[in-house]
C-alpha cells in the first residue's frame, strides 16, 4: 500500500517538501488554511540578495506540485489530530478526515505585530510603516510617498523591531531583516534618488551568500547611511514627519533627527498555527517559542513525537534558501521513516 504524508502549511516549505516526496512516489496531502499556496513569499515583491521577482519562486514551486501523488486542500484548517497504533488521523474544518503515516508541520511564522512596540507609534503616527507595508507599496505603485502624498526626503529603516527584544517578548534574531533592510533601502533609493536613507541597526548580520556584497553596494553605489544604535522612541512633528532618537553608539553620543518616513523591519515570530498544533500534538517548544529539536545539528527535521517532522520557519527564522534546503531534508527524513 502507498504510504501517505499529510503536510500542514502550504508556504514554500510545504510546497517544496510535497514535490520532493511525490518524486519519491509517496502520496502527499497538502493542507493550507488560506485560499492560495505560497505563504509569505507569495505576497512579497522582490527578494534579496539579487532582486529576483518573488513570483518566480512560487510559480516554480507550484509547477512542481502538478503530480498524481499530490492532493491539495486550500481554505482548510486543522481541527484535530489523533494517533492510533502509529497512524495519524487528521480532521479538518471541511469535515474531512485523513489518515497519514507521517505528518509534516510547515506552518511557518507570523509577522511581529509592530503595535506592540508602543514607543515607535505604529498605527498612531501617519508615517510609520512596516517592511511588509513597504514591500506592498513597492509592489503596487511606482511612487513612494508620505501619508500626505508628499515625496519623502529622508527615510529611516529601523532594524530589529520585535527581534532581540525581550520587552516585546522575543529575544531571538529574525535573521532576514538586516539584509531585507539593505535590499529595501536600495529599492527606495532607486525610486527616490534624492532621498537620504538611514539604517538604524544594532549589529549588521550579513552572514549569507552575497549579503556583504549587497551591504557594500548599498554604501558605495547608493549612499545608504548606517547608524549603529537602537531607536529609543519616535514622536510625530507638526507636519507629520517624525523625530527619532537613538544613541550613535560609535561616537558614544545620543542622536536625534527628523525623518519623513520610518520603516520598521518587523521580525518573524512563532506562528499561532504552529503553537496550536504543537500543543495539540504534545510537541516540545524551545524558549523562543519555536519548535525544538533535540539534536540541533544532525536531526533538525525531527520533533520529539515520532512520525511528526518539521520544515522551514516553524523551528526558527530562515531565508528562502535555507527553507528550501530544510524542506528537502525533511522529505528525505520522512521517506526514510515511513519505509
Amino acid at each position: 500500500m502507498t504510504k501517505k504524508v499529510v503536510i500542514i502549511g502550504g508556504g514554500i516549505a510545504g510546497m517544496e517538501a510535497a514535490s520532493t516526496l511525490s518524486r519519491m512516489n509517496i502520496d502527499v496531502l497538502l493542507i493550507e488554511k488560506k485560499q492560495q499556496l505560497g505563504g509569505h513569499v507569495g505576497e512579497w515583491d522582490h527578494l534579496f540578495p539579487n532582486f529576483r521577482n518573488a513570483r518566480e519562486i512560487t510559480r516554480s514551486l507550484l509547477y512542481d506540485l502538478q503530480d498524481k501523488h499530490i492532493k491539495i486542500c486550500t481554505s482548510t484548517e486543522i481541527t484535530g489530530i489523533s494517533k492510533k497504533s502509529g497512524k495519524f488521523e487528521v480532521r479538518t474544518t471541511q469535515q474531512q478526515t485523513f489518515k497519514a503515516d507521517s505528518i509534516l508541520l510547515s506552518t511557518g511564522f507570523d509577522l511581529f505585530d509592530a503595535r506592540k512596540k508602543e514607543e515607535y507609534g505604529y498605527g498612531i503616527y501617519e508615517n510609520v510603516i512596516t517592511s511588509v507595508d513597504l514591500e506592498q507599496k513597492l509592489k503596487e505603485s511606482n511612487v513612494l510617498t508620505m501619508a500626505s502624498g508628499v515625496i519623502p526626503k529622508r527615510i529611516a529603516m529601523i532594524h530589529c523591531v520585535g527581534s532581540r527584544d525581550e520587552k516585546s517578548g522575543y529575544f531571538h534574531c529574525s535573521k532576514v531583516c538586516c539584509i531585507t533592510a539593505v535590499k529595501q533601502a536600495i529599492e527606495v533609493k532607486q525610486k527616490l534618488p534624492h532621498a537620504e536613507i538611514f539604517c538604524f541597526y544594532m549589529d549588521l548580520r550579513m552572514y549569507g551568500k552575497k549579503f556583504e556584497e549587497l551591504y557594500r553596494e548599498a554604501q558605495e553605489k547608493w549612499g545608504i547611511q548606517f547608524v549603529r544604535g537602537r531607536l529609543s522612541e519616535a514622536a510625530e512633528n507638526m507636519d507629520g514627519s517624525l523625530q527619532i532618537k537613538s544613541e550613535d553608539t560609535l561616537s558614544g553620543r545620543p542622536l536625534k533627527m527628523n525623518v519623513d518616513l520610518m520603516v520598521l523591519m518587523i521580525g518573524m515570530v512563532p506562528s499561532e498555527s504552529t503553537t496550536f498544533l504543537g500543543k495539540m500534538l504534545g510537541i516540545h517548544f524551545s524558549e523562543d517559542g519555536f519548535i525544538n529539536h533535540d539534536d540541533i545539528h544532525l536531526e533538525n527535521n525531527l520533533t520529539n513525537v515520532p512520525g511528526i517532522f518539521t520544515a522551514g520557519t516553524v523551528t526558527s527564522p530562515m531565508t528562502i534558501t535555507d527553507t528550501i534546503a530544510d524542506a528537502r531534508s525533511a522529505a528525505l527524513k520522512i521517506a526514510t521513516y515511513i519505509s
Binding site: G123, I124, E126, Q243
Partner: protein, 357 residues
C-alpha cells in the same frame, strides 16, 4: 496622528480605581508650592462627589526624596510605607490615594517588590512591629490622586461652570499634559493609559473641552531628578531638561501645561523664570510664560473655584491670561490677601518674565 491607534493602547492599560472610602496620603512639597491643590482635591471629593476620604494628620513623608537622593535606605522607606498602611488599616480603610507621583512610585515599587519577594514583605512586617508595635494590611486598591479625578472626570464635567475653551475664539484650549516619570514609566500597568501614551490627564482635558498637544518631547522628563536639583552645581542639567521640553512645545502655542507630579509642576513653572533670567527667553507669544497647573487646580477652575483660593498667585508664571481666555472673573485686589484680609508682601518682579501684579 491616528486617534484610534492611541485608543487601542489606552484600552490595554485600564486600571482598577476604587469607587469610595479612601485613605489620603499627602505630598511633602505640594502644600508649599501649590497650597490650594490638595485642599481642592478634598473639596471636590467630599463636596462635589460626596465621597468618604480620610485626611490623616498622623502620616509622614514617604521618604521618597531622601530615598532617591541615596540618603534613606530601602528598608527604612519600606518600613515608613508599612506604617502608612498600618494607619490606613487601623482607621478601617482599604483604598489608598497618593497625592504625589514620587510617593506613588515608592508605593508601587514596594508593592511590586513584596509581590515578587515575599521574604521582603515579611521583613517589613517584622521591622514595623519592632519599631512601632503596629501591623498592617496591604491596600486593596492603590491609586494616584490624578487617577481619582480621571475616574470622576465626567461627573466634574457635568458640574462645570467653565470649560477649557477660549471664550474669545470658541476654540478648545491647547493643553500640554505632562506626566511624572514615576507615575507609569517604572510600571506601565499601574498608570491609566500606560507609559508611552498616558491618558490620565488627557482624559480630563478632553472631558472638560480642551485639546491635548502631542509634541515631540512629550515623554521627556522635566529634569527634577532628585540629586540633580538638590545639588546646586547639578541644577544646570535639571533645567536643561525642562528647556528641551519648552523648545519643543513652543511652536504649538500651548495655553497652559497641566502636570500630575509635584516636582514637574514646580520645575516646569519655576524654571521658566530661571531660563528667562539666564537667557531672556520666554515660551509664550507675549512674554508671560506658559502657566503650569496641577490637575486639581485645573479641575477647580472648571468647577468655578476662586483662582486665589486655589493658590494660583503662588505660581511663578501667573495665570491671568489663562483666566481671561476661559472667561473666569477674578479680583486683582484680592490676589495677595491672606484669609484674615492682610496683604502679603508683593513678590519681586522678574527681569524679563512678565507678571500681572
Amino acid at each position: 496622528m491616528k486617534t484610534e491607534g492611541k485608543k487601542r493602547v489606552w484600552e490595554d492599560y485600564q486600571k482598577e480605581i476604587a469607587e469610595d472610602h479612601y485613605y489620603f496620603q499627602r505630598s511633602c512639597i505640594r502644600q508649599n508650592f501649590f497650597p490650594g491643590s490638595e485642599t481642592a482635591f478634598l473639596k471636590i471629593l467630599t463636596g462635589e462627589l460626596g465621597r468618604d476620604i480620610m485626611d490623616d494628620p498622623h502620616h509622614t513623608t514617604c521618604t521618597g526624596i531622601g530615598y532617591h537622593a541615596d540618603i534613606v535606605p530601602f528598608d527604612t522607606t519600606m518600613t515608613v510605607v508599612a506604617r502608612h498602611f498600618a494607619l490606613m488599616t487601623e482607621n478601617g480603610y482599604e483604598n489608598m490615594i497618593i497625592s504625589c507621583v514620587t510617593s506613588f512610585g515608592i508605593y508601587t515599587e514596594i508593592l511590586e517588590t513584596w509581590k515578587h519577594f515575599p521574604e521582603v514583605l515579611a521583613r517589613a512586617r517584622r521591622y514595623l512591629k519592632k519599631a512601632t508595635g503596629r501591623e498592617f494590611n496591604i491596600p486593596k486598591n492603590v491609586t494616584h490622586a490624578s487617577d481619582i479625578i480621571y475616574k470622576f472626570k465626567d461627573q466634574i464635567a457635568a458640574k462645570a461652570k467653565y470649560r477649557l475653551i477660549n471664550q474669545q475664539t470658541g476654540e478648545p484650549l491647547k493643553v500640554v499634559e505632562h506626566i511624572g516619570c514615576h507615575y507609569s514609566k517604572m510600571f506601565p500597568s499601574w498608570g491609566v493609559g500606560g507609559a508611552e501614551f498616558p491618558y490620565v490627564l488627557q482624559g480630563m482635558v478632553e472631558s472638560w473641552g480642551g485639546e491635548v498637544i502631542d509634541y515631540p518631547e512629550r515623554r521627556h522628563c522635566c529634569g527634577f531628578g532628585f540629586r540633580q536639583y538638590i545639588v546646586r552645581a547639578n541644577r544646570g542639567y535639571s533645567v536643561a531638561n525642562s528647556k528641551k521640553k519648552f523648545e519643543s512645545m513652543k511652536p504649538y502655542k500651548p495655553d497652559f501645561v497641566v502636570c500630575n507630579c509635584p516636582g514637574c509642576t514646580m520645575f516646569m513653572d519655576k524654571w521658566q523664570y530661571t531660563i528667562s533670567e539666564m537667557e531672556g527667553k520666554t515660551y509664550d507669544e507675549y512674554g508671560f510664560g506658559i502657566p503650569v497647573l496641577t490637575y486639581e487646580e485645573m479641575a477647580g477652575l472648571v468647577l468655578g473655584y476662586d483662582p486665589w483660593e486655589l493658590g494660583l498667585q503662588m505660581h511663578q508664571v501667573q495665570s491671568e491670561p489663562l483666566l481671561d481666555k476661559m472667561g473666569i472673573p477674578y479680583d486683582p485686589a484680592e490676589k495677595y490677601k491672606t484669609a484674615s484680609g492682610k496683604t502679603f508682601r508683593l513678590p519681586a518682579e522678574p527681569t524679563s518674565l512678565k507678571v500681572c501684579v
